[in-house]
Symmetry: C2
Subunit: 515 residues, 2 copies
């Protein structure tokens, strides 16, 4: 397995670190990450095909329940066997594979700022911020339900961290906003607080239509142009086992028709919503993902779609979901292998079950992240801030995760090995027992030679102790506050802002969406 690819510095500045000056938080500059390592093939061909075959048998013999009449019509029209009495849809493997094959191997997700466009697929890796947590938490105010203030803070924080290529989704649900119109306020906030691409809620077609309309207003595009240059991505979960609920399918169809990318992610927790064996859980994940991806391609052939893997396991003593476990990491590797088998981009996650930003939070997240990057993930959802199995978006965890993501991004670069970097002259100059600190070769390179950490404290024990003996979470607390203080909104044309405000006002007057 060999390093390939090269670094993409699209939109980056020539300086290695953009924020070093004047005591600002040191951050890696914007850069789309390209994985220099070939993904690991965890299964040999035989076991991979056995897994594939099992998924196909599930769809042929059991089928999947689709709780949406329009979808059942479409599926029947395209050759699926539909039982109207119970919504059960059986799909022949030839049918599934023929439609899955229509999906593109990669695509571009466009941002309001074209320098923040993202390639989804190939060796590219896109890190998302946490999304959809009902609660948030920080060391000062503790754990509480999310509000608009928190939604905005976490959005600004994500925007401030260039390693988070996709800040949105709702980092936390702003529970103080009315559910029928909440999405409108959030979408308007995306436009105002970040210039990166969008993630929207797809719970029902109406929310999707609002997101698409507002993204078109923001980017000054007509509907057809937006379809050609998609700017809004979403996640559609199945209700495992083998059920697709009505609103989700409705949202999926609206996304597909607008040709905006959909990540299809079955929620196959082994031992609960999926078999207790990892092979069985993965067979179920694969069956559900491929069924919805094939359906999406029936609705809109060639529309962008991502294969999502999220298989983990529960604690069999309590039924509590666990993440970042050995089982989770293996599933992340194999999920990637399955996605590549069907030539689809792959989504994995940075998940953990910890209640606090402690060693457990870090090692579970690292297990998840290594599963994602070495598994060949193109989208890493919940990349920063996710705690408690998704129940909490943590301000401090967002910063600690950003450090972990930055470290991985640096690690994923290919190593230069040439005359200059091999440094034989410096080795000759320094000689046995000498020191490289003062060597000309060192002096010319030392400032940008190594990754400069965000959270890590490398001082010796005594200095660290005298400076207050803060742990990583306490240091992260100071960093997010500084980032919020230093936050600057990207430019937004006031006329566009007003047009968005008008749209939001009109839709609010109409009552928003049905809830």
């Amino acid at each position: 397995m060999t390093i390939q690819g090269s670094e993409s510095d699209k939109g980056g500045t020539p300086r290695r670190r953009v924020r070093r000056e004047a005591g600002r938080v040191p951050l890696l500059p914007w850069r789309q990450v390209v994985n220099a390592y070939a993904p690991i093939e965890a299964l040999d061909e035989e076991r991979l095909e056995r897994l594939h075959d099992a998924s196909m048998r599930i769809l042929e013999e059991q089928g999947i329940e689709v709780l949406n009449d329009e979808a059942l019509d479409i599926l029947a029209r395209h050759g699926a066997t539909v039982d109207r009495a119970n919504g059960r849809v059986r799909l022949d493997r030839a049918l599934v594979l023929a439609f899955v094959a229509k999906a593109p191997e990669s695509f571009t997700l466009h941002a309001p700022n074209p320098q923040r466009d993202l390639v989804i697929g190939a060796r590219h890796v896109v890190f998302n911020a946490v999304s959809s947590a009902p609660n948030c938490s920080d060391l000062d105010a503790g754990r509480r339900p999310g509000t608009q203030v928190d939604f905005r803070n976490l959005l600004k924080l994500a925007h401030s961290l260039p390693i988070l290529h996709l800040p949105a989704g709702y980092a936390v649900e702003p529970a103080d906003l009315p559910p029928a119109t909440r999405h409108l306020d959030c979408l308007h906030d995306y436009a105002r607080f970040t210039d990166r691409a969008w993630r929207c809620s797809a719970l029902g077609g109406a929310r999707v239509e609002d997101a698409v309309a507002m993204n078109a207003i923001l980017r000054g595009l007509g509907g057809e142009e937006l379809a050609e240059k998609p700017g809004v991505m979403t996640v559609i979960n199945t209700n495992s086992p083998l059920r697709a609920d009505g609103a989700m399918v409705d949202g999926l169809m609206a996304m597909a028709r607008a040709r905006q990318p959909v990540i299809v992610t079955p929620f196959t927790l082994a031992g609960a919503m999926a078999p207790v064996t990892l092979a069985g859980a993965l067979a179920l994940q694969n069956a559900e993902a491929l069924a919805l991806i094939a359906f999406l391609q029936m609705v809109a052939p060639g529309a962008p779609v991502v294969y999502g893997g999220y298989t983990s396991n529960v604690d069999m003593k309590t039924g509590a979901p666990a993440f970042g476990t050995p089982e989770y990491t293996r599933a992340a590797f194999i999920g990637g292998q399955l996605a590549r088998r069907y030539r689809l981009p792959y989504r994995s996650s940075n998940a953990c079950a910890a209640n606090e930003v402690d060693a457990q939070a870090a090692y579970e997240s690292e297990m998840s992240l290594w599963g994602a990057v070495m598994g060949g993930a193109n989208v890493v959802a919940h990349g920063a801030g996710w705690m408690e199995g998704g129940l909490v978006a943590s301000y401090e965890k967002m910063v600690v995760d950003a450090e972990m993501l930055q470290m991985l991004a640096e690690f994923l670069k290919p190593l230069v090995v040439d005359e200059e970097s091999l440094a034989l002259d410096a080795i000759a100059e320094v000689g046995p027992g000498g020191h490289f600190f003062g060597a000309a070769h060192t002096l010319a390179r030392f400032e940008a030679a190594f990754y400069a950490p965000l959270v890590s404290d490398w001082r010796n024990f005594e200095s660290w102790r005298l400076a207050g003996a803060e742990d990583a979470a306490q240091r992260a607390n100071k960093i997010w506050k500084q980032l919020l203080r230093e936050y600057e909104a990207p430019p937004l044309d006031p006329a566009v802002d007003e047009a968005l405000a008008d749209y939001v006002a009109r839709r609010k007057a109409e009552g928003g969406v049905a809830v």
Copy 2:
């Protein structure tokens, strides 16, 4: 890249977890870990050869300083160009490669209990406990210089954790024991407190001779039998750049003559003892490692030896060593690739620079560990307990690291994909929207289905909070205390113990070793 190999359960019990009963700490049973994943080749052939060529040029043009007259004689006799005036030894690449090629690709390190024998090489992974820290630390007593009490506690703790295949080395230096005879007490403690294989200090030949003699007494072997079934391993560091000190070379020769395995590990900190560029630091690492390995094979052709990689970088602002950095992880991958190029077993480490058992300690250790296991390491030194760049052996970190190692060991197993694990009958039985908790397939497997954590707390936030809201370090504190309470010494024949005591008494009477 494909999963190969199979699990080795040598010496394990048929039960999956040995200590579940009666409220004991849940631990994975003894098992030598086999890595199911092929190691990652981080460099393409061209860059790898460029790195190799640079190392050869260093040895041909600069040479290495060897501060030991006997070694210089041996080197000269075997064809090296030796400058007696300054101890500089230049080695032709043909000479280096011819002698390196005499080293075995893998070997067995024998334990006093033959069920704890370890294969070093191929796809086997051996986890060591921390070694050589001057200080120790725990949450109750804080950070302090090590004593014999701590040395023994950490040895017992390592023995209690079956994931630590090699508990020894001095987890912490027992600074309250006289330096001239300290090693004798420590070796006697190995015999009494663990039945696993030994690591010894090789600072000078006399210490090695004591270790070899005492290991032979313990195992009831003559010198020749011990040479055939080596039982004591050591680490020899170079004084980078390009210097091998006298006592270390003396120890290396004594080990080689006794045919006990040596891990040769250059300490190439980029920016300090090695070039600031990673390629340069790795070229230097490779030159130093191969020079000493070739020398060892001149002393004792075919004697067991391990290629050690330890390249990291310093913080260029302060000069402080950093570990678990992106640079460290890349170096760990490439070190493995180099070792495989020369068909040598490979050693890497679990290193971190954190001052506390917090998120930083965990994510730096995970970066190191993933570098080790995906880099194809056969020996993971400092696998548990290492803090502050090696200045501290932490009781709590040893437990948290053991959790990380257990998780990796489970992850490294190949996945079974067969009719039974694919669970199609269970999926049919449960049907759309159902639940697998009660399925027969689940009930038959749930107890041993998933990894059971040691430190991780998966309770929901409220339960965790009501139970005292302990973080991972606090939980680890309780676990090491319980492990020490439950510790049981392995059986030791009283006659052997007495023979060892006699040996120690005699050598103490002689004054021990020169210090």
